[in-house]
Each structure stands twice: as C-alpha cells, then as structure tokens.
C-alpha cells in the first residue's frame, strides 16, 4: 500500500516537472546543493542508485525524492516496484488517451498549475522534515486524482499475458484478489455465429488484461472515428481559438510580474558607458565615419561641357585616339550575294588556317529570312577582344605614304632618241655542233671567227651568214681574238695549253703578205728567261695548209687571249691559284714571251690592254688591277663589289671599264672617279658571261646565262664633271638555254651598231 502510494506520488511529480520546465530543474539543482551540504552519507546511496535507474534522466529527481523520503528501510524492493509501476502507467497512459477522462485531465491542468507553488513549498518542507509527514500527505494528494484508479483493474502490469496461460486467474485487482478468467469456451464457430448474429459485434472489443469483452458506447465509437481522422478527441475543443497575447502593445495597469525592479535598472551601465565612449573616441579620431547620405549619383547627369576650356588639351598631346573598328563589308551580311559565300575548298582552307591568318574571322552565311538568323556565338569574345585592344595594345601612328608607283619609275630618255642600237635578230649562223665559247669580228667588219667546243674554228661572212672556212684545231677552243691591226690578218686561238696564230687569208693579198712578213720576222727564241716554259714553233703540213702558222706552247691550259691595239703584242691567261705564271705577254714580231708578274695576286680571270696608253688590265676574282707597263707598276686597283668577275671590257676611250660577274651584276667603273663602281646594274637574272663595248657608238652589251643580251646606251662625256649616262635600251632574246648555259660571248661589229652573240645552243646570232 505504502509502496504504491509513493509510486503514485512520484508519477504525479513527474508530470509536474514536465509542466514546470526549466524553473524546476534549476530548483532541483539548488535542492541538490542544499542536500549535499546537509547529508553527506546519503550521497553514497544516491551514487548507488544511479546505475540502477539507468537512462531515466527525467525520473532522476523523482527517485531521489523517493530515496530521501524516508523509505530507506524498504530499500531496493520499492525501487523495483517503482520502475514496474512507471512502465505500467506509461502503458496505461497510452491506452487512456482516447478516454473522455483524459479531457478532464486537460481541464484539470490549471488546478495542477495552481497547485505547484504549494507543492514546491511542501517539498521544501519535506526535505527539511525528512520522511515523517510523508504518509498522510500522500493520501491528500491523490484524493483528487481519479484518473488512474478506474482503469487499472488488473495490477500485473505490462507483462506478456501468456504467462498466466496455465492459471485460472489472470491477475490481481486493486484489492489483491485474483481476477478469474471468464469461462471462455468460444470456439471459431461461436465466434462466427456471434459475428453473424450479434449486431454489436463490430463494437465489441476484447480486453486482454481482464479477458472480458467490452461493448463500446456510441460516444466512444465516435471518439475512435475522430481520432482515426486525426481530429481532436474533444468535440467541443476549438482548435482555432483566437490567441490571447500575454505580452501585447497595450499598456496594462498592472505589471505582468510583481517582481520589484532591479537596482541595476536605476544605475547607468558601466559597460555601455565604456562602449559609447569608445565609439565617440573612434568618431572623433575619424576611424568611424558617420553614416553617409545615400545618393544615387550614378544616374545624375549634367552639362559636363558647359565651360569648355582647351587648356586640358595640352596635357594629352601624346594621346592617340583609338582606331575605330573597320566597318563590315558585303560578306558579313545575313543574306550576302552568292559570290561571297565560301565554296567547299575555301571553307576547308578557312578551317585549316590559323585563326590569326584568316581573312575573315567568321564564315559568311546566308539565311533566307530575318527570323532565321541566330545569335552570333563569338559576339562577347569580339567585344572583349576590342576591350583588350583598347587598353593593352600600344598605339602607333603609321604614316601611310600613298605612293603612285608610276612616280617611282625613274625618268629616262626614251630609247627612241638614243638610236641607233640593235633591235631585232636578223641573222643566225649555224654550223657548229658544240657550244660556241668565243667569237671575234675582223677589224674590217667583214668576217666573223668563232671557236667552239667541237674543236673547230669557223670563219663566217657577216652579211651572208655563210661559213667560208672551218679549221680543225684538235681541242676545245677557249678563246679567239682577231688581230685589231687592219693591216694584218691574223687570229689568235687558245686551244688547251697552246695559243695558235692563224692566218685565214681572207683579205687582200697585200694584207696577207704583210701578215706573213710579220710572222716570219726575226726569231729570238730562247733569249728570254721563260724560254723553258713557253716555246714558239712553226707548223707544217696539214696544219699549215689550214692556215695555222704558229704554235705557242704554254705550260698550262690557256683560257684567254687578248691583242694589243697595235697588233704586235698578245696576252694569254692561264688561271692558276698557286703560281705566279698566270699571264704571258708575247711579242709576235720578235717571237718573244715574258711573264710580267713576279707574284701571284689571285686567280686571274681575264686581261685586257688599254686601247691608247701603255696600261694593262688584269681582272682577278674580286678586283681589277691596272698596271703601267712602262713604269712597271700598279696604278690602280678597282673593287668590283661582286663575288666573281667573269668578263671585262675597256671603253675605247680608255677611261671606263665594265665588269660582268657570275652573281648577275654588271659594274661600270669610271677610272677618273673612283676605284668603286660608278654604277651597278642588276639587269640579268643569271650569271653574266660576257660584256663588250662598241668601238664607235656609245653602246655596251652584256650576255648572260638567262639567254638574253642586254644592250645599254652609255654615253661618256668629254666634260669630266658630267657623269656617264647609262640607259638600258634593248633586251635581245633568241638563244635557247641548253644545259643551264645561255649566251656565252658577245661582241659588237666594229663599224655598225650590230651585236653578235654566241650561245650554248651552238649558234651565233646577229642583232641589227
């Protein structure tokens, strides 16, 4: 009895604690501290109990209460029972919620709330008095509490009911008497019959604990229905009651709490004071700025240029305005003319190209109507690139000079005014079978001699292009030169390491005889120091019949022969890197040879005599040296500014020299002016092979491997202050390029403005 009542009490307390919330908890802690002060021994019990109570934190205080409520003697039994009962009650609660009594409970609550202060006081007392007054108070407490008692008919608690399977009773009622099981012999058939016949079967509920069937009343059924629908159990409960606000804006007459105001509410706060002073200080120091007045200055515009002053302009003198974006052309149209659209090849090319190489950064497209035009995918990119250009690109003002190309062309005298010069090809001399390396015209201008790689020298009549004579010389002819003296008729031919002197007998008898006389002059062979290297010999037999009169044997292969203007001296060239024996000068009348140079000054390309004065021109690879033959010294060295000189010609006046070179250049030297070329002409596309001056007309010609002969007008003035006038007047073509060789030699007619050229195609051509 006692245990049970205490049990009940504890339950009640639990509810209270739940309702009271935090306050209670605080109080409990206070209580505890008090208890600790008072009873140290009991703490030990407390500690012991805690593990037994397990996880029921909520119940902690209750059990504490029970422990301290003076029931120490009953000991552990009561504790166990407590637990049991708690569980049971919980179950009962679950069961009872639907019951109408529950509503009563709810209505009851205000009472409970009202009770609490009393109870608290009581409890406090309790703590102080110990367990003396406990018993009587319990009775008082549960007088009102009728809710639990009615329902608990069976006190066995929340146990599986099959434990009572074998007993005649099913448990114990409140008075401890056995509750007997109802005599139950209903089998399935009875059940079924009951189901079919009993009209109240549907509202019959079997109570497991008492084993009896309960027939629910109408109200109870309605309650169940309501609960199933999730509605409130109480019909009269209005869930949408207007809320009564506890704290409202209405000023009440009475305070909500009766608590007197704290002292601190009358005293100014020190903390706040400190804060304010800090803020004030910060504002004073300018650390915190007062709130700025919000103004929408962004969109406020005014007349910025109301007072225009140009003074600022000066500041930006270096400033260049950004160039504008070029305006779009037809190809950018959404519907361009068909010719602007890409063909497939163009599209492929466009796709292959690097984006920076493309002519347009997009592919022209055609749309049949405006509504089909899509957004341009690179729009943002282009705008962004423009932005980058504006602030990252250096700007430069490029002065675009609009030059009329016609103005660049130099104004030259018209070729027409510079006539005569050869303009057309008039004759072709055919007969040779190898490339014709060298040609020479007789001083009278009637005959032309040519030497070829087919080991023959041919004599042609200039006007008729007839080959009068062919002389077999037994080797490729490198050079050929007609004696310039008109009173003799002799020809020097360079073949291998020999120089042959031919007398073609193509002139008057007088001339022929005079030449014979020259050849048969006194012989001083062997008198010179070079006797061992050069040998002069007369020819006999067949060779003599052909007209070969003299043989001058050289130690090495001879490349060029050149006559002095008077026709007595003859120079021959044997190019060689290593020795100083490169040039010989032969005197025909005395049959004497001599080597004028003691030192090797480079590979000699060609030599020439000055037409009037005793000067001798020697062209080495890069330069032309001029020697005074009388003083036996070098007077000048001309820098040709070219890689490799191929040929050289001296102006009949003797003051100008032209040099052709293998690097396509022709350099004109004015000997009075400088040792550097007066003019470099780059007319030819390929190596220049031969150059020639006309004897009387102001003309010179150059022959090149590109198959052309270029005739230039080159007037030389007697006035030393006036520079020579050089004008190209004609490009003559006719030779066929064979084995990459074009025109090999060029020479002018001595009296007429005609030019002869010999080529690698085994022909000689005359241009008039």
């Amino acid at each position: 009895m006692e245990g049970r009542s205490s049990n009940m009490r504890s339950h009640d307390q639990k509810e209270e604690t739940k309702k009271e919330g935090m306050k209670k908890v605080q109080e409990k802690t206070k209580k505890r501290s008090k208890e600790e002060d008072e009873e140290e021994e009991e703490e030990i019990f407390n500690l012991k109990d805690k593990p037994a109570l397990g996880g029921e934190d909520e119940d902690l205080s209750d059990s504490d209460d029970s422990v301290f409520s003076g029931l120490e003697d009953s000991g552990s039994d009561s504790d166990d029972e407590d637990e049991e009962d708690d569980d049971e009650e919980e179950e009962d609660d679950d069961k009872l919620i639907p019951d109408p009594e529950q509503t009563e409970q709810i209505e009851f609550n205000p009472d409970a709330v009202l009770q609490t202060p009393e109870e608290k006081k009581k409890k406090k007392k309790k703590k102080k008095e110990g367990g003396v007054t406990e018993g009587e108070k319990k009775e008082d407490e549960y007088q009102h509490d009728s809710s639990d008692e009615e329902d608990i008919r069976n006190t066995v608690g929340n146990i599986p009911m099959e434990w009572y399977k074998d007993f005649p009773h099913i448990g114990y009622d409140l008075d401890g008497k056995k509750i007997l099981k109802p005599i139950r012999n209903k089998d399935e058939l009875d059940e079924f019959l009951d189901k079919m016949e009993n009209p109240d079967y549907w509202r019959t509920v079997h109570d497991k604990q008492t084993g009896s069937d309960i027939i629910l009343s109408d109200e109870q059924v309605a309650l169940v229905n309501r609960l199933q629908k999730g509605q409130f159990g109480d019909v009269n409960f209005n869930e949408y009651q207007p809320t009564v606000e506890f704290f409202s804006n209405d000023v009440m007459i009475h305070p909500v709490t009766n608590r007197p105001a704290d002292k601190r509410s009358f005293i100014p706060s020190l903390i706040e004071k400190e804060k304010v002073s800090k803020l004030v200080h910060a504002i004073k120091m300018g650390w915190i700025k007062p709130r700025r007045v919000q103004d929408d200055t962004r969109g406020n515009f005014y007349d910025l240029w109301a007072s225009e002053d140009t003074s600022i302009l000066a500041r930006h003198r270096m400033h260049l305005p950004a160039p504008k974006i070029p305006l779009p052309g037809h190809h950018e149209s959404y519907n361009p003319p068909p010719e602007y659209l890409f063909t497939e090849e163009e599209l492929a090319l466009w796709e292959q190209q690097d984006p920076s190489d493309r002519k347009w950064p997009f592919v022209p497209k055609r749309f049949s109507s405006l509504r089909q035009v899509p957004a341009f995918p690179r729009f943002l990119h282009e705008r962004f690139e423009r932005c980058l250009d504006l602030y990252l690109c250096p700007r430069q003002r490029k002065m675009r000079v609009n030059v009329n190309p016609e103005d660049l062309i130099p104004k030259l005298p018209k070729p027409k005014d510079l006539q005569p010069f050869p303009t057309t090809q008039s004759l072709v001399y055919r007969g040779h079978s190898g490339l014709v390396r060298s040609i020479s015209v007789s001083p009278s201008g009637q005959w032309l001699a040519s030497g070829s790689d087919d080991a023959s020298v041919r004599f042609w009549e200039v006007c008729s292009s007839r080959c009068l004579k062919t002389v077999q010389v037994g080797g490729a002819v490198k050079s050929i030169a007609w004696n310039p003296n008109p009173s003799v008729c002799l020809l020097a031919v360079a073949v291998d390491s020999m120089v042959l002197i031919l007398s073609p007998s193509l002139a008057d008898k007088q001339v022929v005889s005079s030449s014979e006389r020259l050849l048969s002059g006194p012989q001083e062979a062997g008198s010179t120091e070079e006797a061992g290297t050069v040998t002069w010999s007369d020819t006999e037999g067949e060779e003599l019949n052909q007209g070969i009169r003299l043989k001058i044997q050289h130690p090495k292969a001879v490349h060029q022969v050149a006559w002095h203007a008077k026709g007595d001296y003859l120079a021959s060239v044997m190019p060689d890197h290593s020795s100083h024996l490169q040039v010989f000068i032969h005197q025909l009348s005395k049959r004497r040879s001599q080597n004028p140079f003691r030192k090797n000054k480079g590979l000699v390309q060609c030599v020439s005599f000055h037409p009037l004065r005793p000067y001798f021109f020697v062209a080495t690879q890069r330069s032309v040296r001029i020697y005074n033959l009388v003083k036996q010294e070098m007077t000048k060295k001309l820098q040709a500014n070219s890689k490799w000189i191929s040929s050289m010609a001296v102006h009949p006046g003797g003051d100008h020299v032209i040099c052709g070179s293998y690097d396509c250049r022709l350099s004109w030297f004015d000997l009075d002016l400088s040792t550097k070329p007066y003019k470099m002409l780059r007319h030819h596309k390929k190596a220049v092979r031969g150059v020639a001056y006309h004897r009387s007309y102001p003309l010179f010609a150059s022959a090149s491997d590109d198959g052309s002969v270029i005739v230039c007008h080159g007037t030389v003035y007697n006035d030393l202050l006036q520079n020579p006038l050089i004008v190209p007047v004609k490009v003559l073509r006719g030779h066929v390029i064979t084995h990459d060789l074009g025109v090999l030699d060029v020479t002018f007619h001595p009296t007429q403005p005609w030019v002869f050229s010999s080529g690698a195609d085994a022909t000689i051509r005359l241009f008039t």
């Binding site: 515009f301 225009e308 062309i409």
Partner: protein
C-alpha cells in the same frame, strides 16, 4: 680631358619609358587596380622605337608605358579611392571574422565609391571629342542592356545601360540622325550622323547570351562603368541641343493616348515609363513647345570655279539627305509579332514613318491590324491567313534596303514568300577596279533614276544575262544599230576593260587580216611603251624597286580577288540558269 664617365641608360629613351611592373610599384597598386586605372584614364602602353635601349640591353618582352603617363596617373584622385576600397575590404573581412554584424553593416553603408565625371572631362575636353569616341561605348551599352539580370554583373549596371541606350535611340529618332543600317550575321549595325560625326554601333540580336568562360567580365564591367558615364553626359547634352527634356519625357499628347491602355499588363509601375520610352512609338516632350524649327538656310556667297562646283555638290548632297530624312513620311507600318520590333520601330520612326504592333507584343502600340490606313505590313513568315487588299505585305529587309538606297525600292522583290535579293553592306564604297556586285549596280541605276542607263550597264556587265532581260536587249540592239562609230569604239574599249578583268579571257575576238594592219601601229606603240617601262624599271634603285614591287603585288592581288569574285558569280548565275532550263 677627363670628366665623369657617362653611364648607360641614364639619358635618352631609356628614361622616357617605364615597365608595367615598375609603374605599378610606383603607383602602389595591385595589378587589377592598375588595369582598372589604365582603362578609366585611357592610358595604353607604348612601343619604344629602340626596344633594346629602353629595356637596358635586354631583349625580354616587356610592356612599356610612357613615364609621363604614369606621372600623370600619380595625381589621380581615384587612386586614393582604390586604396580606400582596399582598406574597406580589409575592415569588412575583419568584421566578418569577428562576427561583428553591426560593424559589418556600418562598414557596408560607408562603402567607398567614386565618380568618373572629372575623368570624362579630362579625357574629352570638348564635346566633339567625346562624340568622336562614342562608338565603343554604344556597342558596349547595347550589349550589356541585353544581359540577363542574373549573375555576371550588377543589375543596376544593366538597368542603367538599358536606360541610356533607350535615351540614345530616342534622341536619334528625334534628330532623325540615322543614315545607314546593315543586318549582319553578328547583329544589326546602325550608323547615325550626330552633329557631323558619323557614329556606328552594333546591336546584338535579342537572344540569351551563352556566357563564355574565357572572357574577363571585370574588365568589361570597368569599361562599361566608364562608358555609361560618358554616354549619360553625352545624352544630356544632345537632348538639350534639341530642346528636349532630360531625363526624357513623352509628349503630353502621346502620353495621354498611351494612358488609356491598362499598363499593369506589361510592367510594374516603376518600369512602366522606361518601357514606354523604349517602345519608341511616341515623340518626346520639348522644353519649349514649338513646332519644328526651320533649318538655317545657307547664305549664298559669291564663289568661283571649283569652289562653286564643290558648293553645288554639297548643296545637292544636303538636299538628298533631307529627302532621305523624310523617306517613310506618310507611310503607315504594322509590325507582325515575329519581326524584331525594336529595331524596326526605331528605324521606321527615324525616317518619319508611323509604326504600330500588336497590343500583346509590347506596350505603346498606336493602332490595330485592322486599321484601314496601313500601307505596309511587315511580315516574316511564309504566308498570312487574313490579308487586307489595300496594303503591301513585305519582308523586313525592304525597310533596311530602302534606307540604304535612300529611295523607296520597288516592293515586288520583297513580297511574302519571295526569295529576297541579297542584302548589301551600305558601308562599302567601291573604288575603281574593285568588284561591284551586280545588285549594287542596279541600285545605283535606280538611284540615278535612269532606266535606259541601267539597261546599258546591264548589257555591258554581263552579256550572258540575256534571258532575264530579253525584251530590253532587243531595244538595246536597235539602239546600237543606229549608233555611230564612236559608240562602237567606246563599246570596244569597255569590252577590252572587261577582258582585262576577266583574266584576259578572249571573248570571241575576231581579227580580220585587213584590221590587223590597222591595229598594228597601236599595238606596236603599246609594246614599245611597255618595253620602255620595263627597261626603266630595270634602272630603279634597290629601295624603290622593293617598294614598287610591293605596291604592284598589292594591286595585282586586288585584281585577282575581284576576278575571282566575278568568276564565282558567273558560275553561280550559269548554274542557276541551267536549273531554270531543266525546270522548264
């Protein structure tokens, strides 16, 4: 003798330039701030003439700024604002870190801002300078006004851009300043003549942007900041030059007309006015409400000779321009819903036309489809169900082509479902030797208003196009029979030119033996001249020769390109003809 030894790089160009990093350090700015400053102040790098000298002997690639420019930046008040902002960000971070929300709030309220007014004034000392440089700002503002109002940039910026562009368009309408329009695949180009300055801007098509990742929006936003300020001031000045109210107000009469409709359907109250402005259907209110002020007549000054001719030409041009301004006057357009409304409304209103649209498309429509007086309905769909008899149904390209041609073109080519003629760029001005598309030739002829000339040209242009204009050709032949020898000679010359253009293709040139003698001297002379020239070229100096070759190469390339286009066009026309024949 003696003296101090001269040190290298202490004088001359090395002291005039400064590298970017050094400049940045001198200004004590971070790189983004430095960039922003350069953008706002319009400072750009310079390429020194002798890079190695400036770079103190090194050839490393560096960007150089003029030292003067950087010194000039040193005094810029905005630099201080940048530093303030840096401090602000630091304080804000600190406050966030300490979770001092009140401090955060206070700081945010005091966020440092800056104004660009003085920079605008400094960069563009006079109004005309500013107008000259307005192209980029217009393009950028039009682009930003099409952005969605999420992400990428502040909503305020977008709204401001929209407002400014609408104001600009309204001004152009009021001033009738538009000159040329071009629909390209990128967007629509407009060219207006504002106070004698030609201004071109590009408006993208109204689609959502596919925002690329490799675009730095901060840079763009900085530019936009500058451009919006510039455009705002320019708008203000322009509006005042026309006696218009700024910020723009609609004409009271027009406003009352528009009021009748229920505005709530279209936009909220705050946006309503801007929307109405952007509808471009009503004229603007003026400060002094007067009728159109008369153009100041040019006084006649006595002039002579060439100047007289110039003056006459100028006068003629002015007259033409006046006519162009009134191109659409008296015409009433109705814009169907599938057509870009804003562009067309803008363009039509610029040339004095009246325009309206369906009520559900946009605010500000003035009349319905059923209106009897509508002369043109602009449609961009294959067919329309209900057609009114007394109006033309045309495709939108007609409007743009008319503007570019400065005359009302025949509408037949632009009817519904008709294949449109090509849309040509009005910005191309063909010089001699350039390729001219045949459509352009036609338009030029129409402009001159001479039908026969047009035919003749056609005849010369392409003899093969006989099928198209057979009847015309017959007349033409009669003309030729009557014509005398001079005409023939001209014809021949033209043909020769044509030949040269067509890669020297021989177009059935028959040379009779008798004629050969006649032609020989001419040809000989020509040959002689050509040879003379060739020989003269040989004598050119090296430097000049190089320049000459370059020029000639450029010229030849131009000719080649023109020839290529001609050939392509011809091939296309031929194939088209063949198709037609097979269809027949």
């Amino acid at each position: 003798m003696g003296g101090l030894q001269k040190k290298k790089y202490e004088r001359g160009s090395a002291t005039n330039y400064i590298t970017r990093n050094k400049a940045r350090k001198k200004l004590q700015l971070s790189l983004p701030d430095f960039r922003r400053l350069c953008i706002l102040k319009g400072i750009y790098p310079h390429e020194p003439k002798h890079k190695k000298k400036v770079n103190k002997g090194s050839t490393a690639p560096r960007t150089f700024y003029l030292l003067k420019d950087i010194r000039f930046l040193l005094h810029e008040p905005i630099v201080g604002r940048f530093r303030d902002y840096k401090v602000f960000v630091r304080k804000l971070k600190r406050a966030y870190g300490k979770t001092e929300w009140s401090a955060v709030e206070r700081l945010k309220e005091n966020k440092p801002t800056y104004k660009l007014d003085h920079i605008i004034k400094e960069r563009y000392p006079s109004f005309i300078d500013a107008l000259r440089d307005i192209d980029d700002s217009l393009c950028m503002c039009f682009l930003f006004s099409t952005f969605a109002r999420t992400g990428k940039c502040h909503v305020q910026t977008i709204q401001l851009c929209r407002r400014l562009t609408v104001e600009w368009m309204n001004y152009v309408v009021a001033a009738r300043a538009l000159r040329k329009v071009f629909i390209s695949i990128k967007g629509i180009y407009y060219q207006a003549e504002v106070m004698g300055q030609l201004t071109t801007w590009l408006v993208p098509y109204q689609f959502a942007h596919d925002h690329p990742t490799d675009v730095d929006y901060r840079v763009m936003a900085t530019f936009t900041e500058l451009y919006t300020t510039l455009l705002g001031f320019i708008n203000f000045r322009l509006y005042h030059s026309l006696n218009l109210l700024y910020p723009p107000k609609l004409d009271s009469k027009a406003e009352s007309e528009l009021k009748e409709e229920n505005e709530e359907d279209y936009a909220m109250n705050s946006e309503c006015y801007l929307e109405k402005l952007s509808a471009l259907s009503a004229s603007l209110a003026r400060v002094v409400s007067t009728a159109e002020e008369e153009e100041a007549e040019l006084d006649q000054f006595p002039v002579e000779g060439e100047e007289m001719e110039n003056l006459e030409a100028k006068e003629k041009e002015q007259k033409q321009q006046e006519a162009q301004k009134k191109l659409f006057e008296g015409l009433k357009f109705f814009v169907n819903r599938e057509v870009p409304r804003e562009s067309l409304a803008f363009v039509i209103r610029c040339f004095g036309g009246e325009v309206s649209w369906d009520k559900s498309v946009c605010i500000g429509s003035t009349y319905e489809v059923a209106e009897e007086t509508i002369t043109h309905q602009i449609v961009d769909r294959p067919n329309v169900d209900k057609q009114y008899i007394n109006r033309y149904y045309i495709q939108p390209q007609w409007v743009y082509d008319c503007i570019n041609a400065k005359i009302l073109l025949p509408v037949e080519d632009y009817f519904l479902g008709v294949t449109l003629p090509p849309h040509l760029s009005p910005f191309v001005e063909e010089k001699e030797g350039d390729y001219v598309p045949p459509e352009k030739v036609k338009i030029l002829a129409l402009q001159r208003g001479e039908k026969p000339a047009h035919e003749q040209e056609d005849e010369e242009e392409d003899e093969d196009d006989e099928e198209e204009e057979e009847d015309e050709d017959e007349e033409e032949e009669g003309d030729i029979d009557d014509g005398d020898d001079d005409l023939e000679a001209e014809e021949k010359k033209l043909k020769k030119m044509e030949e040269q253009r067509a890669q020297g293709k021989s177009l059935q040139v028959k040379v009779t033996p008798g004629k050969m003698k006649v032609e020989n001297p001419v040809r000989l002379e020509e040959e002689e001249k050509a040879e003379e020239k060739r020989l003269a070229i040989m004598m050119m100096k090296k430097k000049e020769k190089y320049l000459y070759d370059k020029i000639m190469f450029g010229k030849k390339r131009k000719i080649r390109e023109a020839n290529k286009l001609t050939a392509k066009r011809k091939a296309h026309d031929d194939s088209e003809k063949a198709k037609k024949k097979t269809r027949k």
